[in-house]
């Protein structure tokens, strides 16, 4: 490359680097223009996401099943085509059943606590490249959803509304490393903060260091002023390990969320909080132990032939 070409390349590189840094600075200073750009992009993308979601949802987890279709012979081909269409219908039905189950459980949860909710399907998963844990739902400000509203799954807390667009919303999941929620322990009523760390377990830090916490203790959300971002009384998770290391300023523990974040297909956004605090009404029941059948084997010794 000639000297002129090299200096032109360097100049271009410097200009682009300065532009990038300029954009970072603008964003950190909270310039509205960049938010509008993002919002415009999402408005354009959400119809594509919706179409892809409805087209792909029956087959997302069943590549292996579908790859076996279509082998040899006209009769077999015909039967296989029928079989494939029936399979697809069955998959769609199975998918709808799962969504229906999740929706029913969410409605039960919201109904018991008196939350006013808006249900929405998950239309897109967030990118892992940014180490963030987000999903996009197919309802937005047109359905009454606003920023910083609590989002529920069928088992409890799922996250909060981070960004809202007319027909979609970005949900920050509770496992996101930037997620924080105020919680209380059901039995002792101790309060603390729970922080996501990118996986289903989260870190609990208590404000009071004097009382004991135990494995299995259930955590509920504490609620925020005007119920935003968090409504009170939502099941969050249970303590799996307690950190008892000496010298720590605040007592901490590891918590497992009730929500299985790998299987989210329907979510509910709490658009109206309860008239009164539901307290412990939503504490999940402990699973009943299933009795294991005892198998008794009687062995009769065969008589040894006597000589």
């Amino acid at each position: 490359m000639s000297r002129g070409g090299q200096s032109r390349t360097r100049l271009l590189l410097v200009i682009l680097i300065v532009t990038s840094l300029f954009l970072v600075t603008l964003d950190l200073r909270g310039v509205q223009l960049l938010d509008n750009l993002k919002q415009g992009t999402q408005n354009v993308l959400s119809p594509f996401q919706r179409i892809s979601n409805s087209a792909l949802s029956p087959i997302k987890n069943f590549f292996s099943d579908l790859s076996l279709l279509g082998r040899s012979g006209s009769q077999i081909e015909k039967l296989e085509k029928e079989n494939a269409s029936l399979k697809l219908e069955l998959l769609e039905r199975a998918n709808a059943d799962v969504q229906l189950d999740q929706l029913k459980n969410i409605l039960d949860l919201a109904g018991t606590a008196g939350y006013k909710i808006v249900n929405a399907k998950v239309i897109s998963q967030g990118s892992y490249q940014s180490f963030a844990q987000t999903v996009t739902i197919g309802s937005g400000s047109n359905a009454g959803i606003a920023q910083n509203m609590t989002v529920l799954s069928e088992y409890g807390i799922a996250g909060i509304v981070k960004e809202v667009y007319p027909n979609s919303a970005l949900i920050q999941l509770a496992i996101d490393p930037g997620f924080r929620i105020g919680v209380r322990i059901v039995n002792s009523q101790q309060i603390g903060f729970l922080s996501g760390r990118g996986e289903r377990s989260a870190v609990l830090q208590l404000l009071d260091n004097s009382t004991d916490i135990n494995e299995g203790d259930v955590l509920m959300s504490r609620g925020s002023i005007a119920n935003r971002p968090f409504v009170p009384g939502v099941p969050v998770g249970y303590i799996t390990t307690v950190d008892n290391s000496a010298g720590t300023i605040a007592q901490s523990a590891t918590v497992r969320y009730y929500t299985d974040f790998s299987k989210l297909s329907v979510l509910a956004v709490v658009v109206g909080g309860p008239k009164s605090n539901p307290g412990d009404a939503l504490v999940p029941q402990k699973p009943q132990p299933i009795p294991t059948p005892t198998v008794t084997v009687f062995v009769t010794p065969t008589p040894t032939p006597s000589n």
Partner: protein, 173 residues
């Protein structure tokens, strides 16, 4: 670059971005999955001159920042992709290139993908981005590298053909 080239490249970039955001993002793949936009930008950068590669990286990063699931401040991915694309082009362009052959290109894309994730991790906390636990980061880095290694050989011939038909340069042997 002529206006025609810029126009065609912009359409290709936007199409890849829409595929990433509406199709690839539908799947919650184990280990974190892959970004078709990153693979595309890096593969084009490796086949282009340095200044073209810088523009490719800048455009890809800008689109990644426009993605609603991008957690960092606007411009962070732009900067990282710009540097990564320029760097990979610096090492990869020309007859005496560092990589040599399609297999070398695949591994260089995987390595560059890993490095730009690490750059994001390093710059993230400085810009106020939470990045999660060490184990999660480790598995995400491992997972995205494996997925990139798996996907790149499949899409690279298509991206190379596209690049050749638009720029009339940059063949892989």
């Amino acid at each position: 670059m002529s206006t025609r080239l810029i126009g065609i490249s912009a359409v290709v970039f936007l199409s890849i971005f829409v595929i990433q955001e509406s199709l690839v993002s539908q799947f919650r793949l184990p280990g974190g999955g892959f970004s078709i936009l990153i693979i595309f930008a890096l593969s084009w950068a490796i086949m282009s001159e340095r200044e073209v590669a810088a523009v490719i990286g800048f455009t890809a990063g800008l689109l990644m920042d426009l993605s609603q699931s991008s957690s960092g401040p606007f411009g962070q991915w732009t900067l990282i992709m710009l540097l990564a694309s320029y760097g990979i082009s610096y090492l990869g362009y020309g007859d005496d290139n560092f990589f040599g052959g399609a297999i070398g290109v695949v591994f260089s894309i995987v390595l560059a993908n890993l490095l730009l994730e690490v750059m994001f991790l390093i710059s993230g906390p400085l810009l106020g981005v939470s990045i999660g636990s060490f184990s999660r980061i480790f598995f995400t880095l491992l997972g995205t590298s494996v997925w990139t290694l798996f996907i790149t050989p499949i899409v690279l011939p298509l991206f190379a053909k596209l690049h050749k038909s638009i720029f009339q340069t940059g063949t892989l042997t």
